[in-house]
């Protein structure tokens, strides 16, 4: 948080504020700092019940949020919690504590600031509940946990203000819904609570404002000066990017040159695996031994903190990172941001660029490094969109009810509650303003009894109604289990990675699915080092050092992004050109090659390619309809393929295309698009699909049906996967109208589109389906093979593969003969 900018007498110098504590004002004055207009407005309008401030990164947004607090607390504040600060990242809370410390200590204010996250030691957490600081910095999950304690009313009794930082990021997920429910609870405990939201530039500020404010209170929206236009360009290299692949290894020399030319460079990647690989290659080429670090969410906390500290000291020239550094953390003097791989949406791009040059009046500088040639096209389209000021965003819709179920349980943990009161409390949260009583009652019944058609658990209800009509936990001990499961983040289950022997120093984490794919001797990258997999011991991946070996690429993922539909449309328009003088020559040639060997997708027609690859038959449908529509198309087409005996094995969708693989080639795709056949039996097909099971697992975990932690011991992911699938199948068979299945369908539909969109697409395309049969992968199809989010289809292909696999195993072992031998009785006892 940079306090303010502008020298005395400069253009943006403003009169000193009279209502800041004199010592703080003096401290600002001594530095020649003055407040931005939006910071002054925040101070002037501190009494508003809810305010949303929209300001670019580097605009002193966080200080703007805290100024009224500092003014109200003054130099010698009475004890008690005054302001709660909530941010999406633990690291951000720690960063703010450090930065708030400067003016508070500098001005000698008696204000206590502490953070509280999952990393805070439990002794300090206990003390914070009994004797809270003036300002508490926390995350939505830690806040939800705080409200679940019996003493929550005492902890929050004097709370005056809550500041929600990076609210645009929280608003995109269930974490935001959870936070708003927690704020509704706080408002009840502290009725005078005022809310402030801090947001980066967004497309629809009113939507975020309505989430933030207590329903139906109004919410003031303040727009800060957006600052100068960012300077974003594509990095031009001598070497051409490859057709596919995400590593951008070709750009290493050019990136190193840029690092040398700047003070501090942040190098963003879309996935952790890409960050690891790039970091490794960067070091191999780093002949000048420039100090370069790596930072991502899979790394051990100690290692992350060391990199953070080195960055604050200004010891690093570059940091290779992922989304873990994404959200406005202010460390050191970053003067260049490099984005490797296409920024999957424009909003993300603009927010990342905000990281460079945190000086309000200096333009941010950023370079895009496309990893392959399709990404060159995406980058160009993204740059055009950013210049046009087009920000993409998906409307969130109503608050999901799995989060609601969790909050009913949280309320029960803190003490007995009245159902009418709780319903009104929930309805005061923006995302749940339209909640009906019937919907609420169904959630309450689910939490109390399981909500099954078969009333099996009347003697073991989780929640019981007392004589006074209020609800309470039947077994108070269950509060411990409920608290352990608070949160909405669906991390894929990860395993810790440690050195074997040697005191077991932790290196980081990998996804369990990745760990399961490793055999002894396999090598992979973590923390910039190549390590050799030795084995799994008590859910810890043990590795040894492996110098010089070429790594098997790590497949653990960072955040998965959805590209915007606006980008798709821009790209489709680009494809219609006869030639591409605006594109680098290598990419123009690549598009020309696609046109030559196959076709380029065009509006009003549907391009379908099919070819063998990787031992399977592949089909690509270029609908350019956005990820949700392409995902729905994947589900529909695999259903038809299964019916037609083509043994589909799975599909993956991007905003542009759906890739389907299976055992048999599609020779005539037209019948696949028969609408009547697509709709027939669709519900049954959707219900059995992996997308639904995945969604059920997530929602059932949030709603408290599946427990992530059992007595402090996490179940292994595989067990959790299996049991949630079994629960899903059982419910579907015996209780298809159960609340959890209704929630699952609602949630799955957020990621899909209704059938009407597909019908429209079919009407637009008519019979103009262009099928191109090829002997190999096409230029345009190549990047699809690295796309995350592959959805397996379990059908006839599995049975055929099982038979193949069994035959192979029997032949390999010579067991076919052994088996024949075993069939002969060796001896027989008559009885």
């Amino acid at each position: 948080m940079r306090a303010a900018v502008g020298n005395r007498g400069g253009a943006d110098y403003l009169d000193p504020m009279t209502d800041l504590p004199p010592s703080l004002q003096a401290w600002f004055d001594a530095r020649g700092w003055a407040l931005h207009p939006h910071q002054r407005t925040m101070l002037a309008r501190a009494d508003e019940p809810a305010t949303l401030l929209i300001a670019p990164t580097g605009g002193g947004k966080t200080l703007a949020g805290f100024l009224p607090t500092l003014a109200e607390l003054g130099e010698a504040p009475p004890p008690g919690l005054h302001t709660l600060y909530v941010s999406p990242l633990k690291a951000l809370a720690a960063d703010i504590r450090r930065n708030l410390g400067h003016p508070i200590e500098g001005a000698g204010l008696g204000i206590r600031v502490e953070d509280r996250t999952g990393d805070t030691p439990s002794s300090r957490k206990r003390r914070q509940r009994a004797d809270p600081p003036h300002i508490l910095l926390t995350t939505p999950e830690s806040l939800a946990l705080l409200t679940s304690y019996e003493d929550a009313a005492r902890t929050f009794a004097g709370l005056q203000r809550v500041v929600v930082d990076e609210i645009h990021a929280l608003a995109e997920s269930k974490r935001g819904d959870q936070l708003m429910l927690a704020l509704a609870r706080l408002q009840k405990l502290a009725p005078r609570l005022r809310r402030v939201g801090l947001s980066a530039t967004v497309e629809d500020p009113a939507a975020i404002a309505s989430l933030l404010a207590r329903h139906p209170d109004p919410c003031a929206i303040l727009q800060a000066d957006p600052g100068p236009e960012p300077d974003i360009r594509m990095l031009v290299t001598d070497e051409a990017p490859p057709w596919s692949g995400g590593g951008a290894k070709y750009a290493i020399p050019a990136v190193l040159e840029e690092v040398k030319r700047h003070r501090t460079t942040l190098i963003f990647h879309n996935t952790r695996a890409q960050a690891e690989l790039f970091f490794h290659n960067l070091w191999l080429a780093n002949e000048d031994a420039l100090p370069i670090g790596i930072h991502h969410g899979s790394l051990d906390r100690g290692q992350r903190e060391r990199v953070e500290a080195a960055m604050v000291r200004g010891d690093l020239r570059a940091i290779v990172c992922t989304g873990s550094l994404d959200l406005g953390i202010d460390w050191g003097d970053v003067d260049l941001v490099i984005q490797v791989g296409a920024p999957k949406n424009v909003k993300r791009l603009v927010q990342r660029i905000g990281r460079a040059n945190h000086r309000y009046n200096a333009p941010s500088k950023a370079l895009l490094v496309p990893a392959n040639r399709f990404e060159v096209v995406e980058c160009i389209a993204a740059l055009e969109a950013a210049r046009a000021g087009e920000l993409d965003g998906e409307p969130r819709g109503r608050g999901p009810r799995d989060v609601l179920c969790q909050h009913i349980l949280i309320a029960a943990c803190s003490g007995p509650f009245d159902a009418d009161d709780l319903f009104e409390e929930f309805r005061s949260a923006g995302p749940y303003a339209a909640l009906t009583r019937a919907e609420f009652d169904a959630c309450l019944d689910f939490c109390a009894t399981g909500g099954y058609a078969l009333r099996a658990y009347d003697q073991w209800q989780r929640l019981q109604r007392r004589a006074d009509g209020r609800w309470q936990l039947r077994d108070p001990r269950s509060a411990v289990r409920i608290r352990q499961n608070i949160g909405t983040i669906q991390d894929s289950d990860t395993l810790k990675v440690k050195w074997r022997g040697r005191g077991g120093a932790p290196l980081g984490e990998v996804e369990e699915g990745f760990a399961a794919s490793l055999s002894k001797g396999d090598t992979f990258l973590i923390g910039g080092q190549i390590v050799r997999y030795e084995g799994l011991r008590e859910l810890v991946v043990e590795v040894t050092r492996s110098p010089g070996a070429k790594p098997k690429i790590a497949t653990f993922m960072g955040t998965k992004f959805a590209t915007s539909t606006q980008l798709s449309e821009r790209i489709l328009r680009m494809f219609r050109q006869d030639s591409w003088p605006d594109l680098p020559a290598h990419t123009a040639q690549w598009l020309a090659l696609q046109r030559e060997v196959s076709r380029l997708p065009s509006p009003g027609r549907l391009l379908v390619e099919s070819f063998p690859h990787d031992g399977r038959e592949q089909m690509v449908v270029y609908g350019f309809a956005g990820r949700n529509a392409q995902q729905t198309l994947g589900l529909l087409l695999t259903k038809r393929m299964e019916e037609m005996g083509l043994a589909p094995m799975g599909f993956v969708s991007t905003d542009y295309a759906t890739l389907i693989w299976g055992l048999d080639a599609v020779t005539d795709p037209a019948p696949l698009f028969d609408l009547a056949a697509l709709e027939d039996g669709l519900d049954t097909w959707l219900a059995g699909n992996a997308v639904m099971k995945r969604t059920f697992r997530a929602s059932a975990t949030i709603a408290g049906l599946i427990e992530r932690q059992v007595g402090g011991q996490r179940k292994t992911g595989r067990q959790a996967t299996m049991s949630s699938d079994i629960l899903y199948d059982t419910l579907l068979k015996y209780d298809p109208d159960h609340l959890m299945l209704r929630i699952t369908r609602e949630e799955a539909m957020r990621g899909l589109v209704d059938f009407d969109r597909i019908r429209e697409m079919k009407a637009r395309v008519g019979g103009r389906i262009d099928h191109v049969r090829l002997s190999r992968v096409t230029p345009l199809a190549a990047p699809l093979f690295l796309e995350p989010g592959r959805v397996p289809v379990r059908g006839s292909a599995d049975e055929r593969l099982l038979e193949e696999g069994v035959t192979r195993l029997m032949e390999d072992s010579g067991l076919a003969e052994v088996d024949a031998g075993m069939s002969k009785p060796k001896w027989r006892v008559p009885f």
């Binding site: 399981g450 989780r462 049991s723 390999d812």
Partner: protein, 230 residues
């Protein structure tokens, strides 16, 4: 019906798709680890109330297997109930279901580690049971000969053309046969775990359950010495 027939200690046995074992010679059907009442036990200790349909699902499978095999005797190979005393807590419908299945059949409850002690339902309760050359008990013993046991819930996994496939399985070597779990809400132990790799002898086979049961060499962990064959 799809089933996998094999000879074990001179007896012809059939592994059924569901994970039940049919012994046509004596008209016996063997099932292991039903874990009835698991959902109820979890909710009794303050956990979430899981869908209470697991007993119904398990018993429906058993009913189906009895119908197609016409078996006159049922051996439940232990851990039939998820905890001692749960038999009286099953919903009335499920208790009636069990009673219907028992009508006109011999029924043996072998005791398991989850359900020691007598059960309130009909049938005979036993620690173990010898029939002809075979002996039935819950947990495999060291000195097994012709032993049929359960307890471990074995599951096999392997890959075919890059796709990972897994399913519960029977394990069989010259001395012993380990049955898969039959209950709806049961997890499993990979056959390539240290425990199962050490338990089974050289040349052990895994008989995969599923639509078309079949035998493969038991997927096992390298470097663990199997028990010496007798």
């Amino acid at each position: 019906m799809n089933s996998h027939a094999f000879i074990f200690h001179g007896e012809r046995l059939c592994a059924l798709p569901s994970g039940a074992l049919h012994w046509p010679g004596l008209s016996v059907l063997v099932v292991s680890d039903l874990h009835l009442g698991k959902a109820a036990r979890l909710s009794a200790v303050g956990g979430a109330a899981l869908p209470p349909y697991e007993a119904r699902e398990t018993l429906s499978r058993l009913s189906h297997d009895l119908e197609i095999t016409g078996a006159g005797r049922v051996i439940c190979l232990g851990d039939s109930f998820d905890a001692a005393g749960l038999d009286v807590h099953l919903p009335e419908d499920d208790l009636m279901f069990i009673a219907r299945l028992q009508a006109g059949r011999d029924w043996d409850w072998i005791e398991g580690n989850h359900d020691p002690g007598p059960v309130s339902l009909g049938g005979t309760h036993r620690a173990d049971l010898s029939l002809g050359p075979l002996v039935f008990r819950h947990i495999a013993s060291d000195a097994a000969e012709g032993e049929v046991s359960g307890h471990y819930h074995p599951k096999a996994r392997f890959t075919a053309r890059g796709r990972a496939l897994s399913m519960p399985c029977f394990l069989v070597d010259e001395r012993r046969l380990v049955m898969p779990a039959y209950g709806a809400y049961t997890g499993g132990l990979w056959t390539d775990s240290a425990t199962l790799s050490a338990l089974m002898g050289k040349g052990a086979q895994a008989i995969l359950t599923g639509r078309r049961p079949c035998a493969i060499p038991m997927p096992r962990r390298a470097g663990i010495r199997p028990q010496p064959a007798t």
